[in-house]
């Protein structure tokens, strides 16, 4: 079972198509969509994978409020190797604390990672990342109001060859604990990266070629070439 957490509100910037691409890659797998007003499937079951996409800041606080009481269950799932893919600002809910500078709101988050977040609506960051995660080269985009601060050197997701990490002073992007993967890279991460899709589903116990593999690889390889071009601005 693959659980899409709060997909109707956590789908900014193309995230919903991560789910579609997974369904097309794994046509036999079962999926469950959990609404934010419902109890997550993972509370009483153990899904193979959980997807959580990018969201507005207001929704982020609502998601934290929803998941905080479930923290120990989430820790159990992480320990037992459930795959989580959290894109955009979704991974931030696993840090310790988020400061919403513009709205003047301070929120304690789940605290899985000893890191903090600063979100400023008047500082938009747009960028790209070319990096390697566990030997798989990933190309993706990032657009955010926030950066994550602290030391993620023992829990990063990927090392950026180009582009920045959790903040502009580091090349270490995202966080990872066991199979909990948190990355600021945006939603269509999976169709943009067929090789990473295959890697991710393997972590969850599936084995299949990425959907529309030839077309996805063509687009991926073109992007890889563009991202590696020294003239390309990051």
């Amino acid at each position: 079972m693959i659980e899409i957490l709060f997909g109707e509100v956590c789908n900014l910037y193309g995230d919903s198509q991560n789910e579609v691409y997974l369904k097309q890659t794994l046509p036999a797998a079962e999926f469950i969509d959990t609404a934010i007003t419902d109890e997550p499937y993972f509370v009483n079951n153990t899904p193979q994978m959980i997807l959580l996409g990018g969201m507005s800041e207001h929704t982020q606080r609502r998601v934290i409020e929803k998941l905080l009481p479930l923290k120990s269950r989430i820790e159990e799932l992480i320990a037992s190797g459930t795959v989580f893919l959290c894109t955009g600002n979704a991974g931030e809910i696993f840090t310790k604390h988020i400061s919403y500078v513009t709205e003047n709101i301070e929120t304690d988050a789940l605290g899985i990672f000893d890191l903090t977040v600063k979100t400023d609506w008047f500082k938009r960051y747009n960028g790209k990342v070319l990096g390697t995660a566990d030997g798989v080269t990933v190309t993706a985009f990032r657009s955010s109001f926030s950066f994550i601060y602290g030391d993620n050197s023992d829990c990063y997701f990927l090392k950026a060859e180009r582009g920045c990490g959790i903040n502009p002073d580091t090349k270490l992007e995202g966080m990872r604990k066991n199979n909990l993967i948190c990355t600021s890279l945006l939603g269509p991460l999976l169709p943009l990266n067929p090789l990473f899709t295959e890697y991710l589903i393997k972590l969850a116990g599936f084995d299949a070629p990425a959907a529309f593999r030839d077309a996805a690889m063509d687009a991926y390889e073109q992007r890889l070439k563009e991202f590696r071009d020294p003239k390309t601005v990051f």
Binding site: Q17, W121, R124, N126
Partner: protein
């Protein structure tokens, strides 16, 4: 001291406008930029016109501004507007200063200014609109506009309470805007109420902002546009003060009903998103003081500029060109949907939708493609889809993910010669969807098609 700065800025800006004219170029936003560089609160020193109308919202700003401008001009008003240039702070400054005397006295009675949502804080700090219309608040460029809550925050923070606002009642993001403004008029469209909910489209309205309960749609036209009610409290889409109650697609008319009567207008463009734009503009013009007849005579006069839509009848085939805003997923989805509803049993669609500048020494962010709804392109009456330009492979993958058969798709990495890929013997209804950045190429293509038509005629 600051007044001196203003005069220096005014001098520099006016001189730049003269220089641009001598060079044979239109004064766009450059004079405004120069003025603001020299005096950052420049707009605050200018005298306002007697009536200031501002237009904002994600989609439909330019159409609505042009419409307001045309109807007012048709009725004898001289109107200041920024339709020639830009809708950011510098564009607003340019429009105002070019219609002001050197001392800052405004020459025209009315101004219609299109204001980019993100520029709200920089514009409304200095000028208070008498009327402000907002057509919708939707997902837009993720790089610039992020998400709808951010845009709503900016508008809510910026607009003064005394402004009379005109809001789309069928867009809950829009209807809830600017709670500080108590003089509110709602518009919407009841005609052609859809029976089925659209599938697979993103919705930027899901939960009630009052109680957090789930919103249930009464019906939806596209994305979150439609009528809603909360399943937990009594919050719902507001009643419309001006409502399109009938659309006659045979006789090309639409009827607007309001408390003070109803009137039938000529339907100058049959795309439903424009019917919303028309209704919004009409509601504002009525509040401004024009009669139904005064407004309707401008629709009848056929002077309304359709900058975003152009057609060519080449005899043996027809070409329709539609401006399609890249990086804007809902606007692009609406254009795709519109094409699928247009006449033709074997249509050919040519996509020139990429950001030219973003692909120079760069690799354009393609995330927005994944918020687009390509479903209308799967329609069997669309026989050929040509994706041209540097991002054609990304469009191709999205098309496959939508279930569009690969046999009907052609990819081409350059755009300039893409018209040659269209077989006008087979396809008689050709649609060119082009981004702003591809305007010159689209115009050139129209000429190429015209030449081919003449040869065959």
């Amino acid at each position: 001291m600051s007044k001196l700065r203003f005069y220096m800025a005014m001098t520099a800006a006016k001189l730049s406008a003269v220089a641009l004219r001598l060079l044979g170029r239109n004064a766009t936003y450059l004079p405004g930029l120069i003025a603001l560089k020299n005096c950052k609160d420049f707009i605050g020193f200018l005298q306002k016109p007697e009536t200031l109308i501002c237009v904002t919202g994600t989609n439909g700003k330019t159409t609505t501004s042009n419409l307001l401008n045309t109807v007012l001009t048709h009725n004898g008003y001289k109107v200041t507007n920024n339709s020639f240039g830009s809708n950011v702070q510098a564009g607003v400054a340019a429009a105002l200063l070019l219609n002001s005397t050197f001392t800052g006295k405004h020459k025209n009675k009315v101004a219609v200014l299109e204001v980019d949502e993100r520029s709200s804080l920089l514009v409304y700090k200095y000028i208070t609109p008498d009327y402000l219309i907002c057509n919708n608040i939707m997902r837009d460029s993720l790089k610039r506009n992020a998400h709808t809550e951010f845009i709503s925050y900016v508008i809510n923070t910026a607009v003064p309470a005394q402004t009379k606002v005109f809001l789309n009642a069928d867009d809950l993001n829009c209807a809830d805007l600017m709670p500080q403004c108590k003089n509110r008029t709602y518009f919407g469209v009841e005609a052609e109420r859809p029976e089925e909910l659209p599938k697979g489209q993103i919705r930027d309205v899901c939960y009630c902002p009052v109680c957090g309960g789930r919103f249930a749609p009464d019906y939806l036209r596209f994305n979150h546009i439609g009528r809603w009610h909360c399943t937990k409290c009594d919050n719902k889409s507001p009643d419309r003060d001006y409502c399109v109650t009938a659309i006659d697609r045979v006789n090309h008319t639409f009827t607007v009903t309001a408390e003070n009567g109803e009137h039938t207008f000529r339907l100058i463009n049959d795309n439903i998103v424009n019917v919303y734009n028309f209704c919004g503009a009409i509601s504002l013009l009525r509040a401004f003081g024009l009669t139904w007849e005064q407004i309707s005579s401008a629709f009848d006069a056929g002077k309304l500029v359709q900058t975003r839509y152009d057609t060519l009848d080449a005899g043996n085939f027809k070409v329709t060109m539609i401006l399609t805003k890249g990086q804007n997923p809902i606007a692009t989805s609406r254009v795709m949907n519109y094409v699928s509803t247009c006449e033709g049993d074997n249509k050919c669609v040519l996509f020139l939708v990429d950001d030219v500048e973003d692909n120079i020494n760069n690799s354009e962010s393609t995330c927005w493609l994944y918020d687009c709804d390509y479903t209308p392109m799967a329609d069997e009456k669309i026989g050929r889809l040509i994706f041209a330009g540097p991002r054609c492979k990304d469009h191709y993958l999205r098309a496959l993910m939508t279930g569009i058969p690969k046999e009907k798709i052609v990819l081409h990495e350059t755009t300039a010669d893409a018209a040659s890929l269209v077989d006008t013997d087979t396809y008689h209804d050709i649609f060119i969807l082009y981004d702003n950045y591809r305007l010159d190429e689209a115009v050139a293509m129209k000429k190429q098609f015209a030449a081919r038509g003449e040869v065959k005629a």
